[in-house]
Structure formats: structure tokens, C-alpha cells
Amino acid sequence: MKKNTRNRIATFVVVLSGALFLWAFTLPEEPVKTEKSTKDKKPAFVMPENVNKVVMNSCYGCHNSKSKGEKSKKKLNFDKLPTLHHHKMVVKLQDIADVVHDGDMPPKKFLVKHPEKALTKSEKTLLQKWASETAESLMPHHQQ
């Protein structure tokens, strides 16, 4: 190809790309969806940072989707908790409050091997309070 022709083609391609590039900025923005997507849905409950810390240290290890403990997963799975129907979520939250209050969780056998995961008195109170108050707040008004 002759040098001149090649240069002309190159210039043309550059100018065309530039024009297309600038044109893209003139395109209208994607219209705002009028329907709320599930991602925008308000979460059923919020777990404050201090509660989350306690849960991650003392509970999550057994009570998550990837846990090897079939029984513990079945009883409570923190990964699935926010996705439950409210009438079941309330039950799980109340269960958390109860087992923490009764000292049944974390299990004594488990704590023998992992004493650092034991709940302190203030952690117990924190967790219990959060769980029962959240359960209470989820109950429809006429049920409270």
C-alpha cells in the first residue's frame, strides 16, 4: 500500500473513532426503573457492628452455609437468616435470644476446645437484647 493511502486510512479511522467516542456522550442515560428491584428492598433487620463482631466470633463458625455441622446449619444459618419469610425469621431471632440467655450456646463442649469464643456477660446481654428487640420489631403491630 502506498504510504499516502495508508496515512489517509489511518487518519480516517482515528477521526471516526474520535467522533464515535464523542457521540457516545450524547446518548441519553438509562431510564430510571419505576419498580423497586429486590436489591433496593429494605433489609428486614440491621445487625449493628458490635453485634456482628460477637456473632462472627462466637456463632458464625458453625452457623453458616458452608459449615460442616449439619445439625447446627439446620437449626440456624446466619447466611440465610435475612432471606427467610418474616414469620420464620421472628422464630429464629427469638431462639437466638433464648439460647444465649439460657447459656446453651455456644455449646459447653465446644468451649472446652475454644474458650476464646465464650460469650462475656456483656456480650450475652448485647446479643440477647438485639435478637429479642429485632424479633419484636418484626412482629406486625396488632400482634405485639
Partner: protein, 158 residues
């Protein structure tokens, strides 16, 4: 040969003696009551087709309407039956349903659905002597669906 047989008979004899003696160890049967104003089936408006499943598979251990079979009076079966009925009623007694707070009712519905779905309930030794209590997959599905539905309805205040 004769010695072996004599030994066998001796053993059998002592087993029978033991069996006779254990009949004197008491096992107090939890009482039965057919009149239960707070009964689940009635107060929760369980439809007949679902109610029969609860009655056959659950009510012997989990209600006041226990039906005690003849071997309830024969040890060691008697001890096991008494233990199962006591424990069952302690965990949940469907005859007391309407006296439960709303939160307890929701818990019972949720737990019952879990136990039925997983197949952990009815307790398998019970099923050996109670073929009527055996639930098919379809029957379990029906019960779980009804329980979940009921929980949802109760929660939204119906």
C-alpha cells in the same frame, strides 16, 4: 448334648424370671384426656385431610389424646412408651395449642415443619409398631405446606 440343652434351659428360665420381676417396676403413664378446649386441630382450624395426618403421626406423643396399646402394660416396652410420651408432651403438646402466646405458636409451626421435612419426626422406633403413623413424601409435603401457610397467615394477623 444334654448338658448344653440344660444350660440353655437354665438361661431361658432366668430370662423369664427377670422378665417377670421387671413387671413390678412401675412406669406411671401420663394421663389421657379427650376433652381439650385448646386443641390444635380444632382451634387452629386444621382441615380434615391434614388433621388426620397430625392425629396419626404426632398425637400419640404430642398431645393428651395418647392411645396406649396393649404392650404399654408390659415392661420394658412400658418404660419406653412412658418416656416417649412424657418427652413428646414436654417438647410440644398440641392439646395446649390455643393457650400458647403468638410467638410460641409461630415457633411450634416452624419447628414442626422442620422436623417433618427432615424426616426426624415421627421418631422411627415409633413407626415400627405404628404403620398408620408412617408418612409418605407427599403427606409430609402437605403437612409442611399447611404449617408454613398457617405461620404466614398468623403472622399477618388472619
Amino acid at each position: 448334648m444334654a448338658k448344653k440343652r440344660r444350660r440353655l434351659l437354665k438361661l431361658l428360665f432366668w430370662i423369664l424370671v427377670l422378665f417377670f420381676v421387671i413387671q413390678f417396676i412401675p412406669a406411671k403413664k401420663p394421663p389421657v384426656s379427650e376433652q381439650n378446649p385448646n386443641d390444635f386441630i380444632r382451634t387452629a382450624h386444621v382441615p380434615d385431610s391434614v388433621a388426620v395426618l397430625f392425629k396419626n403421626a404426632c398425637y400419640d406423643c404430642h398431645s393428651n389424646q395418647t392411645v396406649y396399646p396393649w404392650y404399654t402394660y408390659v415392661a420394658p416396652a412400658s418404660w419406653l412408651i412412658v418416656r416417649d410420651v412424657k418427652d413428646g408432651r414436654k417438647h410440644v403438646n398440641f392439646s395446649e395449642w390455643n393457650s400458647f402466646k403468638i410467638t410460641k405458636k409461630l415457633k411450634v409451626l416452624d419447628k414442626a415443619a422442620d422436623e417433618i421435612k427432615s424426616g426426624d419426626m415421627p421418631f422411627w422406633p415409633f413407626l415400627i409398631m405404628h404403620p398408620k403413623a408412617r408418612l409418605t413424601k407427599k403427606e409430609r409435603k402437605i403437612m409442611v405446606e399447611w404449617l408454613d401457610n398457617k405461620g404466614e397467615k398468623m403472622f399477618s394477623g388472619e
